[in-house]
């Protein structure tokens, strides 16, 4: 069946002048750039496509034609999960008619399912905002969890492409060693951040703050998924005036208007942190993403 579809794809590629399946290696569809970056570390020969950029809110992606076309060709889809992509991924899975990447297939991997998420909720009600019952999905800023994800991705790659198992194992070992060496470096570098209090937008950096001991004392969003309202911002200003908040943190895809207003009134700096790889010029891969985020946080004082 695979051979047939590849043959068909090859014929179509000839007639349409577009590249079909990858010439070498697997076709990997990543929902977010951090998973595309991870795939690049673990399967450098694969053809990797990221459905979103760090400038796009992954909650609100359109199930657009280009994504259907990419998903149609995917051997493996890597997504954060925990319902982050619920507004668009199910539509892509349905429209792309690719059995490889339906839920439960080897070709569909949700990172949130291989780690323990933070902030799982027993009870979810929409009056609480757009919350995720399965916990916070922005888990790529937890280095240890992300390593677990890397391990799970490696297992999947080996299952899907058994012939290259050794190469995947080697890539994982390489990544794992570099990552585990980097972690204490980041932790040392970020030591001074522990205990710091910030106001942030959404719970985008929940894992980062958890890891580095930063406390998010307030959220620019009145409820998850709701934009900052003027009444809510006024309340935040009250909070900021206590004097213990060191910065206002927003992600690269978030609107800075509310943050800027608050910053001006409260005399606080606004830190725009890259949400993922590509979120600023410094963040070229997972390592430099972490470096950049920590440097930006440290530069706040």
């Amino acid at each position: 069946m695979r051979i047939n579809s590849k043959l068909l794809g090859g014929l179509l590629a000839l007639t349409l002048g577009h590249s079909a399946s990858a010439v070498a290696g697997l076709n990997i569809f990543a929902c977010e750039p951090e998973y595309a970056a991870l795939a690049k570390e673990l399967a450098p020969d694969a053809s990797i496509y990221s459905a979103t950029t760090a400038m796009q809110d992954p909650h609100q992606v359109q199930a657009r034609p280009s994504l259907i076309a990419k998903m149609r060709q995917a051997d493996l889809a890597l997504c954060a999960g925990a319902d982050l992509e619920i507004g668009w991924l199910p539509m892509l899975q349905m429209k792309s008619a690719n059995a490889n990447v339906r839920d439960g297939s080897d070709g569909m991997l949700y990172a949130a399912e291989v780690i323990e998420t933070l902030d799982k909720l027993d009870k979810v009600d929409r009056s609480m905002g757009d919350v995720h019952a399965k916990g916070n999905p922005h888990l790529h800023f937890s280095p240890r969890r992300f390593l677990q994800v890397a391990e799970a991705v490696t297992e999947r790659l080996k299952r899907l492409d058994a012939d290259n198992s050794a190469a995947y194992d080697a890539a994982f070992v390489r990544f794992s060693e570099r990552w585990q060496t980097a972690i204490p470096g980041w932790e040392t570098s970020a030591q001074e951040l522990a205990g710091r209090k910030v106001i942030a937008y959404h719970t985008s950096f929940r894992y980062l703050f958890d890891w580095l001991g930063i406390e998010q004392v307030a959220d620019l969003e009145p409820k998850p998924g709701l934009p900052p309202s003027s009444g809510h911002l006024a309340g935040l200003l009250e909070r900021a005036r206590k004097g213990d908040v060191s910065a206002i943190v927003v992600a690269s895809y978030q609107d800075t208007r509310g943050a800027n207003w608050l910053a001006e009134k409260a005399g606080l700096p606004v830190l725009v942190l890259p949400m993922s790889v590509g979120g600023n010029d410094e963040s070229q891969d997972l390592f430099s993403l972490y470096d950049s985020v920590i440097n930006l946080l440290k530069g706040a004082n």
């Binding site: 199930a63 034609p65 507004g87 009870k123 979810v124 019952a133 934009p227």
Partner: protein, 397 residues
């Protein structure tokens, strides 16, 4: 589709313990849409009526049935003239594991003709479908049938599909109730192409050809009056008001968002063109040609057509505004001749979205009819809410 969606409604139905554990294929996505409105007048070609009313309130349940099939059931509850109608809008199964980009959908479902048709009404930026949809598809065309579609394994999105339907809703007027109709009345072939232009823009083009075996009018006797206009003005049967044997549809949609980030602002431009050919009964047609010389209606056309253009700009997470203009040209049978009618609609909507799940809409519609269903000029105001409970509805591009 993802069955991991647990909703308010589902939580209420399923015990708290079940909701907290890893969801399984057995936990379906349940959603309801509430739609209510006040309108200052009647809309041409069916649709919403004057005064307070309920639009399409729907209840939908969907889940993967097993590893091979997905299923969805959507029940729509509508109230008209003091009566409550329950209608099944969707009851289909779709394959999940066919090879080679193929999929089959069977049962009752929304046809893939045009751009808007396969989208649910509650995801629209306006209170009603454009006049072309109300005239040619009965607002939105869903029917019992079968679809086979295929997605090409190319970076340029290309899909192709064929559908066959029962076609009851697309039948031409049957004055005497004695006509023999084909049991598979409607065939539709469609193709869509799409892609991105950089990080900011995406597009899709669609073409469809619909063959309606029962679309031609029945020949009627000399001197007999056809009461099409009266019937359709208050017709909520979702039947097409104007039918023909061959329908051609071209549609496009273009979406823009800065950096492709749809959260704070985005623009959607879309348009569709419909041409419905060959609506006259063959006999009528011949008679007319014979009489053509001395007749003042010598310029009768053998087609209906219509189009609309729509622009919707979401300028903040909470606000969006839409502008839509459409025209409809149809021929209405009168004895042995046809009268040309024209309807122009200009619509402006302002939408407030407190969250993804709630919309309050104020819409102004100017209907300008030339000889159309008794409408000359008309101004309509609609105040509407559309609220979604339960599972996230993943909307199409």
């Amino acid at each position: 589709m993802n069955t991991f969606r647990l909703s308010v409604l589902a939580s209420a139905l399923i015990s708290a313990a079940a909701a907290a554990e890893t969801p399984t294929l057995g936990n379906p996505a349940i959603s309801a849409v509430l739609d209510g409105y006040y309108q200052s007048g009647d809309r041409a070609l069916g649709g919403r009526e004057e005064g307070f009313g309920l639009g399409e309130s729907e209840l939908a349940i969907s889940a993967n049935i097993d590893d091979l099939f997905y299923g969805k059931l959507t029940a729509v509850i509508e109230a008209h003239d003091g009566e409550t109608e329950l209608e099944l809008e969707e009851a289909f199964v779709q394959t999940l594991a066919l090879p080679g980009g193929l999929s089959v959908r069977a049962g009752r479902f929304l046809s893939d003709v045009g751009y808007l048709n396969n989208q649910h009404l509650h995801s629209d930026a306006f209170a009603g479908r454009p006049a072309v949809y109300r005239a040619f598809l009965g607002s939105h065309y869903f029917d019992d049938g079968l679809r086979l579609s295929w997605v090409a394994p190319t970076d340029l999105y290309w899909t192709f599909g064929v559908e066959g339907f029962k076609g009851d809703k697309m039948r031409a007027e049957d004055e005497h109730g004695e006509r023999e109709f084909d049991t598979v009345g409607v065939y539709n072939a469609f193709t869509k192409l799409g892609g991105d232009i950089g990080d900011n823009s995406s597009w899709q083009l669609g073409l469809a050809y619909m063959k309606n075996q029962n679309g031609r009018l029945t020949p009627h006797e000399e001197g007999e009056e056809v009461h099409e206009e009266d019937e359709h003005a208050h017709d909520h049967s979702h039947s097409a008001a104007y039918t023909g044997e061959n329908t051609y549809v071209a549609d496009f949609v273009y979406k823009w968002a800065p950096n492709g980030n749809y959260k704070y602002q985005h623009l959607t431009l879309s348009g569709e063109f419909f041409r419905v050919n060959d609506f006259k009964a063959p006999e009528l047609h011949e008679e007319e040609h014979e009489e053509e010389e001395g007749h003042e209606h010598a310029h009768d056309k053998d087609y209906h057509q219509g189009w609309y253009l729509s622009g919707v700009y979401q300028f903040s997470p909470s606000w969006s505004a839409g502008l839509r203009y459409g025209e409809l040209d149809t021929q209405l049978a009168h004895d042995d001749h046809y009268d040309a009618q024209k309807l122009k609609e200009t619509e402006v909507s302002l939408n407030w979205h407190h969250s993804h799940f709630s919309t309050v809409r104020l819409q102004y519609t100017r209907q300008q009819g030339t000889n159309f269903d008794g409408i000359s000029d008309d101004n309509l105001f609609t105040l509407q809410y559309v609220m979604t409970l339960g599972a996230h509805g993943a909307h199409q591009f």
